[in-house]
Structure formats: structure tokens, C-alpha cells
Point group: C2
Chain length 440, copies 2
């Protein structure tokens, strides 16, 4: 009889419970795939299991996750508590420090301490895997670490937060406001009571930082990410995008540029018909562009079953003796990230202005753009129209007139300066709305 | 200095040349990823390299691929000659028989002899990898072997032939005939002079057979696949599908059913807005449904750069010491495939009939369907209309009238019997066109 892989698991929330369930239900299939049984022998959890129906069998309960991580009776420590600080960090360090393999789904921990932990793992010759930390059930970490041969990656981007994608999908399909869709997402459990981490783009940024490091062989650099959330998006923007042939998605984008690596999270217009544009609801998608090929992976980014399948895939790799370096190459060889500043970002822009309805406004806007050498691909002026001498429709004469500009490729800097110039002229009733356009 | 992985490569066509190029160009990155250099030391090729620009360095030329496979100077034999017979088969057997790892892109060989070769590999403890054999650059073999944890797969399907997808995309977008688009594909090098292997669905069937085995843990069973090509599709079908909210794709589908595993290749209607429906041009896509999650992988299915990146990924795995069993579990444990016959297939159907224009025809069609308990979701009758007493438009009075039926879920058997019954009544001017509908 082959020795089983003995698992110590910390955290019995949604994902932890689903892992325990899968290890039980798929025992025979996993033994076939791994060449030996994978067995839960100990666990730590401050709360009772999230899923009451799971069978913890003969696994022993350990009260302290750090003690569990150091337990010589386990072959691998699975960290599913979450959080960038202790006890997760202390427990992972304790296991790796003793040369014990660690599997985690903790994106915050990897985004903040991933490189230091990878160095610790490599120094102690311990496996350290985190497939479940990015895009849940989508095997994007494995694909970036192992699946691309010698291809040189030029861009990695995607929809990495199901909450935001759900809200944007509902706004678009049902023509509802952001506030209404957020409330609905909260009711359905897709958004937290305090949703700012998701809708502010910070969750996407954590995941993007990890993808960037894997894709470009650079140290994780979450601090360098430009982050904008979806809170300021209005239905008017989604409708205008629709008419112009685009969908609006919250994307995380990391891109090799001449000045360095650009990392940014913001609402983005993507052309309809592209795979990314068609990803609706809570699904995630990651696109990887390289000199050899472009790949897109689509699947569930969260939830117990999907995320646990990623954790269990890491367990099967470990049990089979398949080893990858945490970041696909020695942690010491990861380059110092060379940051490309957001002001240097180049691309097309969607700009929605609330222009005051008076003669000369359009000329001022056009002059502002021309002053920064911004060429316009299209200008759409919506009713209430900008009329030269007012009009007899009292409604249109009152409010500001929406003007939508689509620019050809320009720079972030130029757009900001141009809009500041237009604002100084006092012709805008509101702060301009700016959405970057991403080519697929 | 770590020992390099010494590569012997047979076949310097498009893919072989691209592999040699990538090993040269990405040498440093590959060494970092693999932990040691990957070096071409010998090659066999009956023709000069397809890509004249590649640098074969100091690699020695061996005239016989079987001799190369047995050469003790190489650590791995890379087979890129193609073909299910010799010399590919003999060379792969020679290498594996000596315990030498083999990497191949040869789908015909795997579809025909994959299980026997896997058994030989496992008996001699040799790695045997074929990522490049299915869907080119898409890492679907790795995903099925390693990426899904304990998930139980229920269906795997996709667009596996770029030639067919290119033709169907052009027909749809440019409203061109099948013949015109085939000719164009041939001119662009996307289709062979004799295109029957691609457009007849046989290439898709080879790849599907391999995916089925990996997904369901059953022996490769290409013989069991029901195959229909795209030759009979007309622009009228694509246009009708469009109006009904569908796109038509050539899919390979393998599905777990109550009677066994159903494997089929045929033109398929997929709902617009689904990821598969939006895959255009020569791209491939593979969707994997399981009890835990659904994944879709999109990328290039052919071409030198994409396919070579899959070959090189297999080389990096080997050089790093990462091993998988060829089919993800012991070949001896692969189950005998239990075939689900096509007649038992259940699903919705699109049926296009050329009905003769005379009273009672519609009643005969409706009766034929009702006789097999087939419920209709929609009936569309196009001009020239079926009119009860002829009409004054001479054109419409002449030709047969197209009638399009969309059925609710029924069986293949019922549809065939119902159509036979209608045909016997002499009310059809042409053979009925039948396209199966696949739920996404």
C-alpha cells in the first residue's frame, strides 16, 4: 500500500468545507490520478465548518493553525483562512520554514508577501502553490507557470472579479442603475455588506499583481497598480458604449511597454464580439497575449466548488510528485519591476462630458482636444442638443447636454491636460467621465 | 553546470522548424523555467527544414528516425513527422521501448494507438506527452490531466478544426457560399488541396477521441464517433440560424449519458452570446463541463508558433522533472468505452425542409412530427410561401417552399423516423437538412 498524502487544513469556510467534501467524494478518482490517497488528517478552524454536511472523519482538531502548520504528522499544510496577516502568514511561514509544502487560496497573502514566501519555500525545498488565489477554478497559474513553453508574454488581462462583472452585466441587460444592481448583488450574496473592496477594484488589483509576476517574471508589485473602481459608472455610459459597439467591463491589465510594465485596473471598453466582451454574470476570464499565441481562459472565479477544485488540483500535483517553482522560475531571478507610469498609458478613450448649453461650447471642447493633439474618431452629441441659440423645448434648454467623444490612440497625460483645459473654461456642468478602450 | 536536456527531433516541417527556432530564441528563459538548458542534439528529416532561417547549430543529422529514437545520446525523442503509421509509430515505440521519453504532436497516432503506447511508456517508466496533438497552443491536455482536481467531467466539446471554423465564419459574415469560402481557405493555405479530412469532420474526430479519453478516463475509441462534416451546410442554414439567435459551428462533443459516452462531430447550432458561438476565424475553443465548474479555453488550434509552444511546454515539464501519466491515470485503469449510440442522442433540432407548394403539405409535416411525439418550439415558413391555392407571384408558385422547424428536446431516432415518414408522402423536393442544437 502506498503512503497517503497527509493533509492538514486550516480554515473551514466555504472553500475549506468544499475541499473536505471533494476529498471525500472523489477519493477513488483522486487516488487514481495522484497514485496515492489524499487524506485529511488534521484541521484548524475557529468557527464550525461552513458546510455542516461535511465529514471530517478521523481528522484531529488542532486549535492553533500555526501549531497545525508545524505538525510533523502532516505532509502538506493547506491554508484557507485568508488575510494578508497572521495567523495565515505566520502559519504559512512556519510550514515552509520546516520544509513542509503549502497550498493556499490566499490572494492577499500572495499579493503582499508572495515573493518572500516563495524564497522561503525554495530555500527549504518546499512546494508552494496558490492556483486558487487567482480566478478561482480557472487554471491560470498552472497555464502561466507551465503551459506556454517559450512564449514571451506581452499582455495579460481579464475580468477577475465576479461581483463587478455581475453588476455591470445586470446594468447592461436590464438597463438598471449601479445602485440598484449593487443592492441586488448584496441580496444574492455576490457582494459584501461593505462592497468597497470588490467594486473599488482592489480585489482585482490583488489578483492582477500575482498574474503580472507570473507572466513577466517580475516581483509582485501591488503598489504599482493604478486602480479605479466601477462606482462612477452610470447606465448612460453603458448605453453609449453599447451604441458605439462596445461593452464596459472592469479589467485588470498588465502590459509590457517600452517604459516598463504597466499595471492598471479600471472600467474598460472592449469591442463587442470579443470573447472578453461576452463574459457575463459572475464568470471570470483571463486573456494571455504572447509573441507565439493568444489564449483566453473562461470560468468561475469564486465559489466553493470551483475554488476547491483548484486547491485539490494543487494537492494532486503534490501527491504525484509534480513540482513547479512558485512563480515558475527561481524567486531570486524575478526582476525588480520597472513601473510604467499611468500618465504614459497609450490607448483610445471614451469621454463623456456634460456640456453647458450655450454658444461656443463645442468649439471650446474641440480646441481643448486639439491643443493636446488628440484626434477624435467620433463625436456624439445627445439630446437635449447643443443648439446655437437655445430652443423652444424647455427641458433641453435647461440641463447640460451630454457630449461623447471617442479618441484615437493618445496618452493618459494628454487626455487629463485636455480635460483640465476644457474644465477651466467653465463649460462643463459635471466632472468628465473617462473610460479607457482596450484593444482585443 | 547542470546537464542539459538533450533533444532528438524527427520532422522539420512547420511545427518542427518552429520548435527549433523557439529553443534557440528563448534559450535563457527556458533554462530559467526548466532549471537546465534544453538543447537540440540530433534531428531526422527527409526534407530540408520548412523554415530555412532556423539554426540547427551543432545538432547531428540522422537519416533514420527510428535510429534517432534509439540513440543513447538523446534524453527525449520529439516526434513531429505525423501519420498514424510508420515511421512515426515505429520510432515512438522504439524510444518508449527503451525507456526514453517521447513528446509528439501526432493526433492520428494518439487517436489510433494512444492507449497501447501509453501502456508501453508506463511499463518502461518513460514520460509520454502530446499536448500539441489537440487544439494546438491551447493547454487542454494539461488542464484535463492536471488542472481540474476532483471534478467529475460531464461533457467536453469544442471547435477543434480551424479550417472549418474559418469557412463557417466567412460564410456567415460575408454571406458567401460554402464553395466560395472553401476556395478562399485553400488560397490562403487554411485548407488542403484535398480538404475532405478537415471539412468532413475527421480531423475533429481524431482530436475529440483524445479529449474524450482524457476527460472520462476511458480508452481512446475513435471508431465510436458519429461524424458529419460541413459540406452540406448552405448559407440559407446559417442565415436562418442567425435569425433564430444561433450560430452554426462544427463541434466535437463527448458527453456522459445514461447509456454510456456519446461522441459526435457535426454542424451544431449554439446560442449567440455563448463563448463558443463567438469564436471566429481559425481559432479553436474547448469547453469542459463538470459537477464543480465549467471552463472554456480559447486559442489557436494550429500553426507553427502556437503548436510549437505546446511542444516546448512538454519539454519544459520533462526537463523540470514534472511527470504526468499520459492519460492522467494508469493506462491499464482506463475503462472500456461504453458507447452511447447516436440514435439515442437527445437534444433540440433545427430542420429545414423544401416543401412542395400544395395544399395539405404543412399538415403532413405536422402529422409526421406529432407521430413521433416531437414538440415544436417554432415553425418558420419562408417566402415563397406555402399558400393554400397557389398565387399570382409566378416565382413563388414554382419552387418548393422552405419550412424551418425548431424542435424541443427529442431523440435522433424520433427525428429520423419522423422525417422518413414525411418523405414517404412525397411532399419534400429535397433531402431534409438537420442541424443539432447544443445547449451551452
Amino acid at each position: 500500500m502506498v503512503e497517503p498524502l497527509k493533509v492538514g487544513l486550516a480554515g473551514l469556510g466555504t472553500v475549506g468545507s468544499a475541499v473536505v467534501r471533494m476529498l471525500g467524494q472523489s477519493r477513488d478518482a483522486l487516488t487514481l490520478r495522484a497514485g496515492r490517497p489524499i487524506e485529511l488528517v488534521a484541521y484548524a478552524s475557529k468557527d464550525p465548518p461552513k458546510d455542516k454536511g461535511i465529514d471530517l472523519g478521523k481528522a484531529k482538531k488542532v486549535s492553533d493553525p500555526v501549531a497545525l502548520a508545524k505538525d510533523p504528522g502532516i505532509d502538506v499544510f493547506v491554508e484557507l483562512m485568508g488575510g494578508e496577516g497572521d495567523p495565515a502568514k505566520a502559519a504559512v511561514e512556519a510550514a515552509l520554514g520546516q520544509g513542509r509544502p503549502v497550498i493556499t487560496a490566499n490572494k492577499a497573502l500572495i499579493a503582499k508577501h508572495g515573493v518572500a514566501l516563495a524564497k522561503l519555500a525554495e530555500k527549504n525545498n518546499a512546494a508552494f502553490s496558490f492556483e486558487a488565489a487567482v480566478a478561482g477554478g480557472i487554471p491560470v497559474v498552472k497555464t502561466l507557470r507551465e503551459g506556454l513553453g517559450g512564449a514571451r508574454i506581452t499582455r495579460v488581462y481579464g475580468i477577475l472579479n465576479g461581483t463587478c462583472n455581475y453588476i455591470l452585466t445586470r446594468m447592461y441587460k436590464e438597463r438598471l442603475s449601479f445602485a440598484a444592481c449593487l443592492k441586488e448583488a448584496q441580496r444574492l450574496g455576490y457582494a459584501e455588506a461593505d462592497p468597497s473592496f470588490d467594486i473599488g477594484g482592489f480585489d482585482t488589483a490583488h489578483k492582477l499583481a500575482i498574474l503580472t509576476s507570473l507572466a513577466f517574471g517580475s516581483e509582485v508589485d501591488s503598489e504599482a497598480i493604478y486602480v479605479e473602481g466601477i462606482e462612477t459608472l452610470s447606465l448612460a455610459d453603458l448605453e453609449a458604449a453599447d451604441e458605439l459597439g462596445y461593452r464596459v467591463k472592469l479589467l485588470g491589465v498588465a502590459q509590457r511597454t517600452e517604459t516598463g510594465i504597466e499595471q492598471r485596473v479600471h472600467p474598460t471598453m472592449v469591442p463587442k464580439g470579443s470573447v472578453i466582451a461576452e463574459i457575463d454574470g459572475v464568470l471570470n476570464a483571463v486573456a494571455i497575449d504572447s509573441d507565439m499565441l493568444g489564449l483566453t481562459l473562461v470560468g468561475p472565479g469564486a465559489g466553493g466548488p470551483a475554488t476547491s477544485s483548484a486547491v485539490v488540483a494543487d494537492l494532486v500535483d503534490l501527491a504525484s510528485g509534480r513540482r513547479s517553482l512558485p512563480f515558475g522560475r527561481p524567486a531570486a531571478s524575478l526582476s525588480k519591476p520597472k513601473r510604467a507610469p499611468m500618465q504614459r498609458h497609450e490607448g483610445g478613450y471614451y469621454i463623456r462630458l456634460a456640456a453647458v448649453d450655450r454658444p461656443g461650447t463645442m468649439a471650446i471642447i474641440a480646441k481643448g482636444m486639439a491643443g493636446e493633439n488628440i484626434s477624435l474618431e467620433s463625436i456624439v452629441q445627445r439630446h437635449p442638443g447643443l443648439r446655437p441659440h437655445g430652443g423652444d423645448d424647455p427641458k433641453s434648454a435647461e440641463g447640460p447636454a451630454p457630449v461623447i467623444l471617442i479618441t484615437y490612440a493618445t496618452t493618459e497625460d494628454a487626455v487629463r491636460r485636455a480635460l483640465a483645459a476644457v474644465e477651466r473654461e467653465g463649460v462643463l456642468a459635471e466632472k468628465p467621465q473617462v473610460i479607457r478602450i482596450e484593444k482585443s
